[in-house]
Every structure is written in structure tokens, then in C-alpha cells.
């Protein structure tokens, strides 16, 4: 039993690596995608729109398989399994994040941009110090949802053979003819998400100093 728990803890680290690396790249990429989506340039905005439609309109598991196998058929070479997982998750989650950012950015009154313009702020100062902080506060609840889903989605990485938490639990279940490891994995995911929820609660409270 102790050995099983240790194995699952180790596998949780793989899940956590997927989780954090996805956030690390997808959060900023989503901002860029949102910009593209809102671009005045019709070509840019429609290309980005198609990208978002594909990412949100097809299963993540399919995208994962595609990212892993497509390069093999096209170039005769494939990236590592773990790299494929990160790429697939990042481009998928960036699409969801982008739509959340867009909603947030568009909810800021144009008067904020105008006031900043008249006061002489540069566009980047306006964006990063005046608009974005207000956007972040507004999108925290929606982001919390998405990030919690990401914790659970890490279980899909096993599809292309990455030994994350759920895969290890399934293997153990098969080995021991018991569903116990799977339920233990469930507890692991629950605990991780309890931490995520708590973190978002704290951030939300922190940003709640104005209305």
C-alpha cells in the first residue's frame, strides 16, 4: 500500500508538471491570441477565429493524438511524448483562455482607454498597468473554472503513453485486480483541485479592494 502511494505520488508530479508547464505557456499565449481575435485586420482575426473554433470544437484527446502522430507522418520524425502533451495542451488551453481574456478586455469601458490616452500614457503602459489589472480581476472566476478543468484534463496525457497519475492508477488496478487505486487517484485529483480553488479564492479576495 505504501509502495502504491509512493508510485502515485511520483506520477502526480508528472501530472503537476503538465499542469504548470501548460499554464506557464498558455496564459501569455492566450493573451496574444485574444489580441489576434480582436485585431482590426480581418485576415488576422478570421485566421485566429478558425484556430479557436478548431481548438474548442474538437476533443482534446484527438488534438493530443494529432500533435503526437502528425509530425511522424509528415516529417518522418516525432517529438517526445511529453513535449507533444505540452504542445497540445498549450494550444488548446490558449484558445479557451483567449476567449476569457477577450470577454474581460471588452468589458472594460472605452473611457479607461480614453482617459489614459489623454493623460499621455503609452499604449503598453495603458495595456499592462491600467487595463490588464482590471481585466484580471474580472476574469478570475472564469479562469478558476478553466484551471480546475486543466487539472483533470492532465489524465488524458496517458493516451499517448505518458505515465501520469491516472495511468499509474489504472496499471496498479489491473495488477492488483482492485479498483482501489483508481479511487485513490480520485482523492489525489480532488486534493489538487482543493488547492487550486483555495488559491483562486485568495486571489479573488486580494483583488477585491475596489469595485
Amino acid at each position: 500500500m505504501v509502495k502504491l502511494l509512493l508510485l502515485m505520488l511520483e506520477a502526480s508530479l508528472v501530472s503537476l508538471r503538465i499542469f504548470f508547464l501548460t499554464l506557464l505557456f498558455a496564459l501569455p499565449l492566450g493573451l496574444l491570441v485574444a489580441r489576434g481575435r480582436m485585431s482590426a485586420n480581418k485576415v488576422v482575426s478570421s485566421v485566429v477565429n478558425i484556430y479557436i473554433m478548431i481548438m474548442r470544437g474538437t476533443p482534446l484527446i484527438l488534438q493530443l493524438i494529432f500533435v503526437y502522430f502528425a509530425p511522424y507522418y509528415i516529417f518522418g520524425a516525432s517529438s517526445g511524448r511529453f513535449t507533444a502533451v505540452i504542445i497540445a495542451y498549450v494550444i488548446n488551453y490558449a484558445a479557451y483562455f483567449a476567449e476569457i481574456y477577450r470577454g474581460g478586455i471588452q468589458s472594460i469601458s472605452p473611457g479607461q482607454w480614453e482617459a489614459a490616452h489623454v493623460l499621455g500614457f503609452s499604449r503598453s503602459h495603458t495595456y499592462f498597468f491600467i487595463i490588464l489589472p482590471q481585466v484580471i480581476r474580472r476574469i478570475i472566476p472564469a479562469m478558476g473554472n478553466e484551471v480546475i478543468t486543466l487539472v483533470k484534463d492532465t489524465a488524458l496525457a496517458q493516451t499517448i503513453g505518458v505515465a501520469e497519475l491516472f495511468r499509474v492508477a489504472q496499471n496498479a488496478a489491473a495488477r492488483e485486480f482492485s479498483t482501489m487505486p483508481i479511487f485513490i487517484a480520485g482523492v489525489f485529483y480532488f486534493v489538487m483541485n482543493a488547492v487550486v480553488s483555495r488559491t483562486f479564492d485568495v486571489i479573488e479576495k486580494r483583488l477585491d479592494y475596489y469595485s
Partner: protein, 250 residues
């Protein structure tokens, strides 16, 4: 010295021509009010002067620099636009304070990041302005904790902090109840006594009559009449102006 010069400015939104050849000029220290019915183009004019809207043709000069000129209008290069931006302040109808900044930071932010003043200098100046506005004790508050009138005073302080050559007001009291309106009007009056150059778009007729050196009446995208308050309110020349003022004189 001439602070503002506008000649034959035209501006359309699609098919709708909002400014039909406006010419106005304003000297340093002069207080100019623009009155007129809703949709007369007075707010659009203000937005063109502050470069929030682009004109189609005509000339706009601010503090000796040309913002836009020609038909179609060509705009000054970015560096000049920035200089012009810094010589104009704009006070909005709905304040547009930055809600996530304290009152103090609302006033210091542009001083530090745009004018590159030191933090201490910016703070000192901000406190002096807050004191003038009677809001010294609100420096650490957030805009949402202030009344509308207090918010508007902060936004006036925010503009004044950059020492603009021309301070514009876009219906500064329209979002306030009558009591708070008086508050803001007395602040503007005080500034007028200090010879701040101001361009005020307003619906407050008695106020315009009180503080202005010159009043401009606009209707349907044109300047119908302009003159001293006495000329415009008491010796009205144009039928359209008289018709408009009737409701206020009654």
C-alpha cells in the same frame, strides 16, 4: 497668446456630418463655454481637439503646434502628437478615474510615467492639488469610496497635475446631482479666477453665463453665434439661439 485655433473643421460618422466647418479660437487665460442642444456636435468637437476622434478636414492648432491640417486632414507625427496631448487636459462626464488605483496614484501615475517626475515631486504636487480640491484626507481612498462630486474633483486634479495649457471639460456635471454640481462648478470657477485656460462643454446655462469670457452656441454641427455672455444671453442675435435659450430664461 493663442492656445487653440480651429478652422473649417469637418467631421462625419459615415453618412452623418457632425461638424460642418467649425472655426473657433481661444486665447491663453480665456474661459470658453460651448452650449447647444444634444447632437449639436459640441462633444464631438471636444473629442477632436483632444484627438480622441480624427477630423476629416480643416485645421486644429494647440499651443502653437499643428495637430491636423488639410483636406483630407493629415495628422502631425507621433512625437508632436504626444507633445500636444500633454498640453491638453480633459475632464470627462463620467470621470474615468482608474478604479484599481488609489486617489493619490490616479494623480501621480502620469506625472511619474509620462512626465518622468520623481515620485516625491509627484506626491508633493498631488497632495497640493488634493488640498486645493479639499480632498487631502482621501489620498489613500479608492475612487469607489468617493461620492461622484469627489471623484470629479480628483479627475480635475489628475488633469491639472500635468499643467496643461488648455483644460477641457466635457459636460463635467451631467453625471452629478444638483448639490454636487454646485461643488464642481465652484471648483471650475476658482480655476477661472486663476486664469486657467478652459474650454467647457456644458448644459449649465447660468454657469456658462457666470464664468465664461466667451460663449459659443452650436447647433447641427455649426457655430451659430458667439460672444461675451452678455451679448449671447441678453442681446441674442440669432433666432435659433433665442429659441434654445428660451427654455432656460423662462
Amino acid at each position: 497668446m493663442e492656445v487653440l485655433r480651429i478652422e473649417q473643421v469637418r467631421k462625419s460618422f459615415g453618412e452623418l456630418e457632425v461638424l460642418k466647418g467649425i472655426s473657433v479660437s481661444q486665447n491663453s487665460g480665456e474661459v470658453l463655454s460651448v452650449i447647444g442642444p444634444s447632437g449639436s456636435g459640441k462633444s464631438t468637437l471636444l473629442r477632436c481637439i483632444t484627438n480622441l476622434e480624427k477630423i476629416d478636414s480643416g485645421l486644429i492648432q494647440i499651443a502653437g503646434r499643428t495637430l491636423a491640417e488639410g483636406n483630407p486632414a493629415t495628422y502631425a507625427p507621433a512625437a508632436t502628437l504626444q507633445e500636444i496631448r500633454l498640453s491638453i487636459g480633459l475632464v470627462f462626464q463620467n470621470f474615468n478615474l482608474f478604479p484599481h488605483f488609489s486617489v493619490l496614484r490616479n494623480i501621480t501615475e502620469a506625472q511619474v510615467h509620462v512626465l518622468k517626475r520623481s515620485k516625491e515631486e509627484a506626491r508633493e504636487r498631488s497632495y497640493a492639488l488634493l488640498k486645493k480640491m479639499g480632498l487631502e484626507e482621501k489620498a489613500k481612498s479608492y475612487p469607489c469610496q468617493l461620492s461622484g462630486g469627489q471623484q470629479q474633483r480628483v479627475s480635475i486634479a489628475r488633469s491639472l497635475a500635468l499643467s496643461p495649457a488648455l483644460l477641457c471639460f466635457d459636460e463635467p456635471t451631467s453625471a452629478l446631482d444638483p448639490e454636487l454640481t454646485g461643488d464642481i462648478l465652484s471648483v471650475i470657477k476658482e480655476l477661472a479666477q486663476e486664469h486657467m485656460t478652459m474650454l467647457v462643454v456644458t448644459h449649465e446655462m447660468s454657469f456658462a453665463r457666470d464664468i465664461s469670457d466667451r460663449v459659443i452656441f452650436m447647433d447641427e454641427g455649426k457655430v451659430i453665434e458667439q460672444g461675451t455672455p452678455e451679448e449671447l444671453f441678453s442681446a441674442t442675435r440669432e433666432q435659433r439661439t433665442r429659441q434654445f435659450l428660451q427654455r432656460f430664461n423662462a
